[in-house]
């Protein structure tokens, strides 16, 4: 089963005056993956997603989603039929009741699944006759997510989906993501909840200041990122350790801490060449990978 790209962008740029919100973005999201899109606030995640959906026009560059040109208004409208999207602020029409909202949304999508809708309504315990503006924040979030999950689209895009959810809600959300992926839906979501991302994501993209700094399978990050703590008989020189793969070096007296995205073995060998006293190698969690990656840029 090939993992063809459902989202493919080419040198996507968005500038507002002199500020570049997105710089030369080459994004590739696979059909059979759960792809997480990480980044600080203001890194350009929402801007990128809005460009994909035709809400914002790129300054330059192009892209396709499900094979359709994202910058062509007509093709974008076509692709939106097969994409489910939940924006960060979980928008809903306050003046509609829960039932009206569902009837409204479902009328636009042939991939709507009535049985999923019923199941989610039961699980989320949403009152059908109540107006959306009278719902609690948690219920509004659940309804907004229901509109996406009661479908079987080709692509599911979620912008910060766990925001506003309690831990039980987050668990349900992740299970829903996994269920969608198991049905062949490509999942692309941005999140600040790194712990959640670490559990379900197959692929991770880290965006910082509009550029993609990391774009790799999560397993690859797990296998290759290492923190190596070294103690030498003398204060070591950092220059000796500027090997390909080394991202950051911190020295303090006789100690040196090396953060490497790959090639840890070369670092250890170099350390041994310099008569290292103690070598400790530890894996790096996604949170630390993220923090170190955005710190150094």
């Amino acid at each position: 089963m090939t993992n063809e790209a459902v989202i493919l962008t080419h040198e996507l740029i968005k500038s507002y005056g002199n500020a570049e919100a997105v710089r030369g973005l080459n994004l590739s999201v696979g059909r059979n993956s759960i792809t997480a899109f990480l980044g600080r606030n203001g890194a350009g995640k929402s801007t990128t997603i809005k460009m994909l959906l035709g809400m914002i026009r790129p300054t330059a560059g192009s892209g396709t989603i499900l094979g359709k040109q994202m910058t062509n208004a007509e093709e974008n409208r076509e692709l939106r039929r097969r994409v489910a999207y939940v924006a960060e602020d979980k928008p809903l029409y306050g003046y509609m009741t829960v039932e009206q909202t569902i009837r409204f949304a479902s009328s636009f999508y042939p991939d709507w699944r009535r049985e999923l809708e019923q199941k989610l309504l039961r699980d989320y315990e949403l009152p059908l006759g109540r107006k959306v503006k009278m719902l609690s924040k948690g219920m509004r979030t659940k309804l907004a997510l229901l509109l996406a999950f009661a479908r079987r689209p080709n692509l599911l895009i979620l912008d910060e989906p766990s925001e506003g959810l309690d831990p039980v809600g987050i668990e349900h959300l992740l299970q829903a993501l996994v269920a969608q992926s198991a049905e062949g839906v490509a999942v692309f979501f941005s999140s600040h909840q790194i712990a959640e991302v670490e559990r379900v994501a197959d692929h991770v993209c880290i965006l910082e200041k509009g550029s993609l700094l990391v774009d790799a399978p999560l397993d690859q990050l797990r296998q290759f990122y290492r923190r190596i703590d070294l103690v030498f008989p003398f204060p070591p020189t950092e220059r000796e350790f500027r090997i390909p793969g080394v991202e950051r070096i911190q020295t303090s007296g006789h100690q040196m801490s090396v953060f490497a995205s790959r090639n840890a073995a070369a670092v250890i060998e170099r350390a041994h060449d310099l008569n290292v006293v103690s070598v400790e190698v530890a894996p790096v969690g996604l949170r630390d990978i993220f923090l170190e990656t955005v710190k150094e840029s």
């Binding site: 959906l53 809400m55 026009r57 939106r80 999207y85 602020d89 809903l92 509609m96 409204f104 009328s107």
Partner: protein
């Protein structure tokens, strides 16, 4: 279900305006008949003419109100990400909104006059249906441009109060300009029937200002087209 959404969005405004205009017209005609000694048919016809004056003011205010909303306003409300994610074109979104508004504007013009017709019939002062039809035609045909203006303003300005304020302001400004310099083309006078009224009988003549109405409608269509382009080019 876009029409359903447009209906839900304008329902309250529409029903309140409809009730207001209908009640006013009915009560005005009914009440005024008692106050003023209508000695001749022309006195009564003049009453109807005055009713149209009032109706025009209220109707224009009402349709400007009906023209508010749209995706630009939704952006301020935070729901544009939902609406624009739907697999419908922005032109269609605007088109449905305009369509619903036009239907509502027509009803707002027809129902009050129908109420007047029945009130007068009960008071044994029947009005010619052609008169009623003419007043409605002048009102809606000449006045839809005000609705289109409101649509244009709401596609440019997103504030809950600034948009209607601006629209009303332009209406007022236009009225003053028409009165000061463009008397011949005064839309207000066209809509109230001033151009077509026979001063002796106070009946609307059979010669309605078709050219004026057509021009007004053309300007309305133009404004809607401009709104479409504005909304299509805008970033959300």
């Amino acid at each position: 279900m876009l029409w359903y959404k447009a209906w839900l969005e304008t329902r309250s405004r529409f029903l309140i305006c409809l009730a207001t205009l209908t009640l006013f017209s009915g009560i005005f005609v009914h009440h005024a008949e008692g106050l003023v000694r209508l000695e001749s048919q022309s006195d009564f016809n003049r009453l109807l003419f005055v009713n149209q004056q009032f109706l025009v003011i209220m109707w224009v205010l009402a349709v400007v109100l009906m023209g508010m909303g749209g995706i630009v306003r939704e952006k301020a409300l935070g729901t544009s990400s939902l609406t624009l994610a739907l697999p419908v074109s922005r032109a269609r979104l605007l088109g449905v909104r305009v369509g619903m508004g036009v239907l509502e504007a027509i009803v707002l013009g027809v129902v009050p006059w129908v109420a007047v017709f029945f009130v007068s019939s009960f008071a044994r002062k029947p009005i010619l249906i052609t008169q009623v039809a003419s007043y409605i035609l002048l009102l809606v045909g000449g006045g839809l441009v005000y609705f289109a203006l409101a649509v244009l303003v709401s596609s440019l300005v997103s504030g809950e109060y600034t948009a209607p304020a601006l629209a009303f302001g332009i209406v007022l400004l236009a009225a003053m300009l028409f009165d000061a310099w463009l008397r011949q083309f005064n839309l207000w006078r066209l809509v109230t029937g001033d151009f077509s009224i026979d001063r002796s009988t106070y009946l609307l003549s059979g010669h309605l200002p078709w050219l004026g109405i057509l021009s007004s409608l053309s300007v309305a269509v133009l404004m809607v087209l401009v709104s479409t382009i504005v909304v299509q080019r805008r970033e959300f």
